[in-house]
Symmetry: D2
Subunit: 345 residues, 4 copies
């Protein structure tokens, strides 16, 4: 059984092509219809004969189980647009910063303004928090979303926040620019399928014990539904080592970038669990080729409701941004959009 | 900050007690109201003075983060009732058998009849399957549920099937006797919260990367919602070993039974991934003190749509049941309900 | 490149056969010369033509990288003789008990006498201890060996003690019946090679992060040197779980027994790190098919210099032996040598 | 029980101080005698009174189990001297390159000359190889050492080679500048103790399953014997991920540097197992703060007897060195000794 990805010419009907393929014994499904249709075909694939069908622009045989996510099909880096002037992938570096959870107006607005000044391009903050224990703080919910909206209005930074269940998608969508899927939900297939129908970028964190192949197949679930705006995020895997919260697997960065065209960013905060290790691992991630970072920043880490141990304070983040700019100054293939990089910075 | 579980006398109002506790500075939440109310209290707990309140029957201080699930509070084994005459825990051994996925009428009915004859007490079969890859068989869905109903009618065996998302609970409830939460969903907190509101038993599989404490806190999510009918299922954890699909962690059986009053069963099929290891590990699980097993059985394992490598055929399962009965004959504290155990069996 | 194991007829010269094979382009090495020679041959193997050589008794092609240790070659269980009337494998169950370290005369003699009475067949005790920290107790050394000799004289139990470096072999040999290789030394290839030249049984513990294949290849190092008396010991692998010292991998028992003819015993003490889990996991190990156990027993676990948390006291061990005998009474294929098993015991 | 490290004044007798401490109930042991003596003291430590003893220069209480290796005692980075003009630690970056195993004269000499030209500061090459399988190439042995000597003579590069057993120390010493302890021997305590008596630098690779604390205590074994010239090497840990040979744990770099004063280098070849990931991970390691790299380089990786998949060819290594110099140009705290760094390089 062979598989291929078939791209139609613009304006051609995916449905008619589906039927034609069916007549020659090839089972296909439509992943996406606009601007051109993308079909996944399965059967005995004869590239040449499919290529001659008038609807078809391109046929690419694929072997990896994550077909749409693979570089076998899509050779060039994908660039995911976040907001006007802000994108990630293809050389565009995206730095996301902010607290683990939205705790109050002052906290989130102050953080937003400060990280923006330091050079961050997006604001993170959880309104719905997946917590190991049912009795701990579960996030401010709708109130948290409203505070994020306010922080966005004041700072201009696009918002990244976590979605935990398909039921929440509709009311969360207007309040967020990137929907984050947390580690524990990486294989919540109902959620992934629902996000395939959304037209906003999805930040897909790697499960803490997910192989690279499982992670890329989770991305494939979203893409198979038609949403190609997937950003991958390495956030550390679980190992036997006890001095760090997780083991940040930076091998994953160049490895995933060789297997997939999707942008890959790194979360050094969860990846280490210790704020004093975050700057070193942020630089290491970018040196390894990551397309960006998501960093926990809090105005008063020691008072944070959650994840205080791994949060930088505003000044530490500002210092980190300076080191990042210095590092990017010798990586000409990368740009930190919106702020010119130079050693002097 | 101390914590305690407070049990009311039968017929007393949980709401009034809540207010009284509040007046003495203790924050409480109601886990369950019937037949007696169970409250979780947090604050400076003075057991004696709470004990004297007329509504109160029992106050127990707890330290473990999984309070309701812990033996600190509930000393005796919990017994979960599945169907008339069938229960698990407190010495009652539950053997569940059946295919990974429902594939068709003949398959599921034939399996049900055969495993029933061999001594199984419940039938497993997936209608909605969580699959790593979006393009593989995802289960027969509603049709699968209908086939399970038919197999139940013919064999009399209660049904265990997997639930993947809160949205499915309402229509799945009438078709199942035990709702299974799969490994990948062990920390799908939206699903766990929704299952707390259901009055049927929940089979909670351990996440493949979950610590014992995370697993018991996942059970706590369900119990905190009021559903105390939780059955835990060890199904193997992920390790570096490549010759088995997972590493079955039987240490977890006596360990969890010392920490918690909930029944613990074992899945030797996923725990090994190889049918030839299933009989040995089934016996090992029971010898370690497990309250039951969930075993994949298929009339033609080599033709199974999924998990064929780890499925026993009908004859192998029959032979295993004979060994199980022989083993239980020297474990007088355990009963395989519905079938008397004897060495001769 | 094919590989085969060639066994000569008794009395035939291995050297001459080696040359003959060389003439037909087959490179061979002698693993063992007595009572019959065993050669490992590599090249283009034509079984029939080798079989016709007058020196040759048997030719068996092998594929697994652990050829001498594999069942591909040696179909029947190996039985390793420990002392007159005591052996392990092929249905003979060996229970080894004793303290982590020899601490003094009273401790080791009292333990020996007590575990012997309870039914143990060999005595363990460390004189040279591999310790994580250089400043902790490293064992009594020669004095410890002398105390073991005394305990053997009094109790009649054969001795199992750990060897840490090739240099110690000569003076340790007279004082021990089984040489134990610890987890940390499982791939100390210099030590393994040296033990291949010894004619006493070697107890080879699995490395705490060794795959089954690495473990069996470590056994192959010893066998390739001519010592076929290898006993494998599963003692728990390292995982992310923190409540147990290690994760006892009982999957390894039936798996290794299917791949190899060597006896496999289990160490539930290191495998759990908690004495309260030891009885359950001892029974589980035997139910899984293990050929024996090595259990830490100390007259006063709370005063033990090392591993007190995982040691049974004398009474707990006695109780465990009763459960073991009860379990073995329904496993007719197994015998606990030297003490007849019956439910009454 | 408290612990402290006591340093004598130059020229003072360690033996006399030992006795004096003993008189006030403090048990001490001499780690090192020259140029000043370093003692480890255990007991009820009164810093002030010990400080007043005329022999004593410095008293430092320590809590970590790796006392001599810790920054609690030794605040400044240790600098280990390798050869005239070549050292590692304290800002000096050491790049070691060369083949997994010495295979022949041309191979090793050609590699030495080429990596030297590219900017490497030391040559690696195994003469004694620890191999998982007893029947695979075990190294050229003495012949390999002679070839390394020749490569050193021609290139001027100091030699790094692996030592597998205490017995080999004497004849290997003249042929090597750094003695490497491999992962599998990290807890071969007999070997570590023997290396404590040697006066050449030891490169101590982290065990593939060793925690940070176990690794630093292995270093402590060497230091407790008097050899303070220990270089730590992170080389990847074992995880569940199958697409890479190991999971390179770069968290370990800043973490170990915060806990210990010893230099830490990184092996991206074993850490990934794939040559295409080596350049990215080399840069990541240095960005994370590593004091150097050890990289497998072979003139014809596809013909290498071992580890070909993870070896760079000469040209790839040259290209990597250019990237390294570019990166170090924005890390003013680091120097690549012997070759000035500049972006132009």
């Amino acid at each position: 059984m062979e598989r291929a990805i078939v791209k139609t010419k613009r304006g051609e009907s995916a449905g008619r092509l589906l039927m034609k393929l069916d007549q020659i014994g090839i089972r296909a499904r439509i992943a996406k219809e606009e601007p051109e249709a993308i079909l996944l075909a399965e059967g005995e694939i004869d590239e040449t004969s499919i290529k001659t069908m008038p609807e078809v622009d391109q046929v690419t045989k694929v072997k990896l189980p994550f077909s749409l996510a693979s570089r076998e099909w899509h050779k060039k880096d994908s660039v995911v647009n976040i907001a006007p002037g802000i994108s990630v992938g293809g050389g565009n570096v995206l730095i996301i910063a902010g607290p683990c959870a939205v705790e109050g107006k002052e906290q989130i607005v102050k953080t937003a303004q400060s990280v923006k000044r330091s050079g961050a391009l997006a604001l993170r903050g959880g309104a719905y928090k997946p917590r190991t224990n049912p009795y701990t703080f579960q996030g401010l919910g709708i109130e948290g979303l409203a505070l994020l909206a306010e922080a966005k209005k004041i700072s201009g930074l696009p918002i990244v926040t976590e979605i935990m269940t398909p039921e929440d998608i509709d009311f969360m969508l207007p309040h967020t620019d990137i929907l984050q899927v947390g580690s524990r939900n990486m294989q919540n297939f109902s959620l992934l399928k629902a996000l395939g129908k959304v037209d906003k970028p999805v930040l897909l964190k790697r499960g803490m014990m997910a192989t690279i192949d499982e992670w890329l197949q989770a991305a494939e679930y979203i893409m198979a539904g038609g949403n190609f705006n997937v950003i991958l995020c390495e956030r550390g895997i679980r190992s036997f080592e006890k001095r760090t919260r997780n083991t940040l697997d930076l091998n994953a960065v160049p490895l995933v970038k060789s297997l997939s065209h999707l942008p890959v960013i790194v979360d050094p905060s969860h990846g280490t669990g210790k704020s004093e290790l975050v700057p070193s691992m942020s630089l290491a991630a970018l040196a390894a080729g990551a397309d960006g970072l998501i960093v926990e920043v809090h105005p008063n880490p020691e008072e944070a409701v959650s994840d205080g141990d791994q949060s930088l304070d505003l000044e530490e983040f500002d210092k980190l941004m300076k080191s990042i700019k210095r590092l990017l100054s010798v990586m000409p293939e990368k740009t930190l959009e919106g702020s010119k990089c130079s050693v002097a910075a």
